[in-house]
């Protein structure tokens, strides 16, 4: 099943934005990253930075560490994998959500 989130136009290329979604009956802030030159193109992680303790993950810089696609938290710069949500420096992780592009829309896949 898919739920529409926003249009592709609302995304920022090679960067992140944030959406407010209801997932399993719970409100969730979801960081959405748009990397148009990758196969998967869109990635989604929880917006809550468990180390910095604030909703800021969508505002980090994207890049890679070795083979891992990552986002760096804007607060204290730890790296989180876009694929697994795992933090590379500390033993914490953020939730990963499955999203995709359907036509002109970004959708949540559940």
């Amino acid at each position: 099943m898919t739920t529409a989130i926003c249009s592709v136009d609302a995304l920022a290329k090679n960067s992140g934005v944030c959406a407010l979604l209801t997932i399993n009956g719970q409100q969730q802030q979801v960081a959405i990253y748009y990397l148009p030159d990758t196969e998967q193109k869109v990635f989604a992680l929880g917006n809550w930075d468990p180390l910095g303790q604030a909703n800021v993950m969508s505002r980090g810089i994207l890049g890679n560490v070795g083979d891992e696609l990552v986002v760096a938290s804007p607060l204290y710069k730890q790296h989180f994998s876009l694929i697994s949500g795992k933090c590379l420096e500390d033993d914490v992780s953020v939730p990963v959500f499955s999203i995709a592009i359907e036509g002109q829309n970004v959708v949540l896949v559940s």
Binding site: A12, S15, V17, L20, G52, I61, N64, A72
Partner: protein
């Protein structure tokens, strides 16, 4: 057992070193020190820096408190007058008596004043102590001409000081050439040319016969050749004489030409009395440098311990900068030895003179003279000190570098005993030991061995040794920016500049690997901003920016932002203050006056930022770049407009300067200050660029810092007019922007610049790299393409896209919760948040 009673006479550099060494040794001694000067030991070697803006207190090597901590009984401002060798006690002029078991004479020397008639009138001065400096300054005040008698090393240093005091400086020398002790005729002549080109008048072969009253100036010097010279002040620097009267009176053996005779253990003819430093003579030789004095102090202390060291002499090679001219002399610099064969290189276009003296078989260095270029000094000195065999064509050591040439001596060729730092007696072996003990950087090694913390002359060599030893141990001195670029920031800057690449994608494709990261992306964004100065939120640039640049505001711990409008120089209209208050009220912002003379509004929601800035821009504000690595503030004092002491309009100058550099992105943030007079109310000397008004213009200071590691700025140039001031700042800032590492403030950048202040002055003032015009043009480009980033952004919907809290909702972040404190908001802590959440439910 009773403590050993040790009395030290003289608290100069060497006497102090003795006291410290003894106090830190395992000898159970009661130490008493009697210093003739009113202040505890200070760094005489750097005396002239007091004329460049240092305070006498900056030269202090110790303090009364420190001596108390060491348990040393110290007396200052009293001279020992008599030594009673039978009763084993000394008596001072002030009538104090001190008994000793061991007596140490460290009385140093005094300036020799030639017995010319009239030498004892007012404004005939000497140059040796801090008190002398004060007299020289007072005498020079408001006057035109100053003469230094003596064209040796100290005389020329003194001439520089006289020149810096704003006087026309003359050097009068008895001999036919300058620095006759160290330089051969060719070197001496070259030095003279260079010094005269700097405006110092040199008179050689002049014997002063009489100093009388002048007509146009205070004094008149009459010379043996019937010529005359009028002057307002005379400073004698015609050599030094050991302070040995005390020893003579006590019937200790003294040298033929003065000096207290000592043996290899630094003992005088009385076995309970030692002499060390400049008052001592060992085999007819007086060692007038600090390093040998320190070795004597250590040898003398060791006689009281199990381990007995000897002092058998020391190398007297020197490298220094006199009036900005590099001069070096090594060993037998003039080639006096019979078997000496010389290579001489002289370049009268660039005013460089070098002479290398080698043994007849061409195998060993005997000595060298260098004037105008000391780059080869370290290498030649190491060949000399370590008796290393020369390569086949030794002349290459002094010839200008040609491609593929220059047989530079690898530091690996140095034996472990090679002395790297003579001030602190640190050998290559000591450095290797420090590295094996865990030191990983030059700074670690400095901290661990004290190398390069004395005169600083060995800094470049130390770095070479450390770098070599580290890489030999596989400890890569990795200077790559990050895993994506195998370049330093400086190299990347050159690449971007020369290829004119405008996007990160193209740069990483051609010169890097992978997708980039939070280190290289902001660095490249900053480089491109310094060079091309496009808006930070252009589609290609936006993904590169740190969150602060992306939202043109500083992120706070709860994800909200702060807002800091620019208030150039702290001057603000009452209506603007009102507007700030209104904005803060309307958006519920915490307001605070910052340490940078402006106002910070905290707690702004991301989605409110555009509206807040629209209102502020309407009230006449611009962005303050508090979020960017760029110019923060130019702090100013009120200056001559209002202040009774001000000599220039510091506010006007600060506003102009803030407006000129406000858009410049740089490796790190930078700050400036402008004070209206020397009282320095704007604290300009703690800024990256500091400007202090003088009666004749502006003094420029650079590379100060007030943050994590405070650093006093260095005086860079004096009495500049505004146009020259701006020209130098343009060049300075752009040179920093080009060459610094990422997140390197000017202070740490400066510390890492090989060649230090003189090098920087050469580049900026004398344009030694030939890049000044380019630096200025680059700055002009940045100034001309300035835009208020916020003003552009609020008129461009595409740029505001990311300022929505949620792409699919108008709600706000529920985790941002404020409570009130002292009448304003602040972020709630976790406990408060829980409590508020419970309340909301109930």
């Amino acid at each position: 057992m009773n403590k050993l009673n040790v009395v030290v006479v003289g608290n100069g550099m060497v006497g102090h070193h003795y006291v410290e060494t003894l106090a830190n040794s395992n000898v159970d001694a009661k130490i008493t020190v009697i210093g003739g000067e009113t202040r505890p030991a200070y760094d005489r070697v750097h005396l002239s820096e007091v004329f460049d803006g240092k305070e006498p207190s900056d030269l202090a090597m110790t303090s009364r408190e420190h001596y108390i901590e060491l348990g040393v009984d110290a007396h200052f401002g009293d001279f020992v007058e008599t030594i009673d060798r039978v009763a084993k006690k000394v008596i001072t002029q002030g009538g104090q008596e001190f008994s000793y078991d061991k007596l140490v004479l460290a009385t140093g020397s005094y300036p020799f004043i030639p017995p010319v008639a009239g030498h004892d009138q007012a404004h005939c001065l000497a140059y040796r102590t801090i008190d002398d400096l004060a007299e020289i300054k007072a005498s020079a005040k408001g006057k035109k001409i100053g003469v230094v008698v003596g064209g040796g090393l100290l005389g020329l240093e003194c001439a520089n000081a006289v020149k810096n005091l704003g006087l026309e400086a003359h050097v009068v020398e008895f001999a036919p050439g300058l620095m006759g002790v160290q330089l051969d005729d060719g070197g001496s002549a070259m030095l003279r040319r260079k010094i005269e080109a700097l405006g110092v008048k040199v008179h050689t072969s002049k014997a002063t016969q009489l100093i009388s009253k002048g007509s146009g100036h205070r004094l008149k010097m009459e010379f043996a050749d019937d010529t005359e010279l009028e002057t307002d002040m005379i400073v004698f620097s015609a050599g030094i004489r050991p302070y040995d009267q005390l020893a003579r009176d006590a019937d200790l053996k003294v040298g033929e030409r003065g000096g207290i005779e000592i043996d290899y253990q630094c003992k005088t003819s009385d076995e309970n009395i030692f002499a060390i430093g400049e008052c001592a003579v060992l085999g007819k030789f007086i060692y007038g440098l600090v390093a040998p004095g320190y070795r004597m102090a250590e040898a003398a202390v060791s006689q009281l311990t199990e381990e007995k060291k000897s002092f058998t002499g020391a190398d007297m090679s020197t490298k220094l900068k006199l009036l900005g001219v590099d001069v070096g002399s090594i060993g037998d610099s003039k080639g006096i030895a019979e078997n000496s064969r010389a290579f001489v290189f002289s370049d009268e276009r660039d005013d460089v003179y070098k002479r290398l003296n080698v043994s007849a078989d061409g195998k060993k260095v005997l000595g060298a003279t260098l004037v105008g270029d000391c780059d080869d000094y370290d290498t030649i000195l190491q060949y000399y000190l370590n008796d290393i065999d020369l390569p086949d064509n030794p002349e290459n050591l002094i010839l200008p570098a040609v491609e593929g040439g220059l047989p530079s001596l690898g530091v690996d060729a140095l034996p472990m005993t090679a002395s790297i730092c003579s001030c602190h007696n640190v050998s290559k072996g000591d450095i290797v030991e420090a590295i094996e003990g865990g030191c990983k950087t030059v700074a670690d090694v400095k901290g661990c061995t004290s190398a390069a913390t004395g005169c600083g002359g060995c800094a470049a060599l130390l770095k070479n040794v450390v770098d070599f030893e580290l890489s030999a141990r596989g400890i890569e001195v990795n200077t790559d920016l990050c895993e994506h670029f195998k370049h330093t920031r400086k190299e990347l800057f050159t690449i971007v500049q020369s290829t004119q690449i405008k996007t990160f994608g193209e740069l990483i494709d051609k010169h890097g690997d992978g997708r980039g990261c939070d280190i290289c992306k902001p660095t490249v964004a900053s480089i491109m901003a310094s060079l091309w100065n496009e808006h930070v939120l252009e589609a290609d640039l936006l993904p590169l920016q740190d969150t602060n640049d992306t939202f043109m505001a500083n992120m706070q711990k709860d994800g909200t932002y702060s807002v800091v409008p620019r208030v150039p120089a702290g001057e603000i209209l009452p209506n603007q203050l009102i507007a700030l208050g209104e904005v803060a009220n309307q958006y519920g912002l915490y307001s605070k006056i910052t340490g940078g003379q402006r106002v910070d509004l905290f707690g702004a929601k991301m989605s409110d930022l555009p509206a807040i800035w629209s209102t502020l821009i309407d009230a006449g504000f611009e962005t303050g770049h508090a979020y960017a690595k760029s110019l923060r503030t130019v702090k100013s004092c009120v200056g001559s407009t209002w202040c009774r002491y001000g000599v220039q309009d510091s506010v006007g100058q600060a506003i102009d300067i803030e407006n000129r550099y406000k858009g410049l992105r740089s490796p790190h943030k930078f700050k400036m200050g402008v004070s209206g007079c020397t009282r320095e109310c704007a604290e300009a000397q703690s800024k990256d660029v500091g400007i202090i008004a003088t009666e004749n213009g502006w003094n420029l200071y650079v590379c100060g810092n007030g943050g994590m590691k405070p650093r006093h700025a260095d005086l860079f140039a004096t009495d500049l007019d505004t146009a020259t001031l701006i020209k130098y700042i343009d060049r300075f800032l752009m040179f920093y922007v080009r060459t610094a590492d990422r997140l390197q403030r000017t202070s740490t950048w400066f510390e890492s610049l090989e060649g230090g202040l003189p090098y920087l002055q050469d580049v900026i003032i004398s344009d030694s790299l030939g890049i000044a015009a380019e630096l200025e043009a680059q700055m002009t480009h940045v100034v001309e393409t300035y835009q208020c980033e916020w003003k552009t952004a609020i008129n461009d919907q595409e740029k505001l896209k990311r300022f929505k809290q949620f792409v699919n909702s108008e709600e706000q972040d529920s985790n941002v919760v404020f409570v009130e404190e002292r009448g304003q908001v602040r972020p709630a802590n976790q406990v408060e948040k829980k409590r508020l959440a419970l309340k909301a439910v109930s």
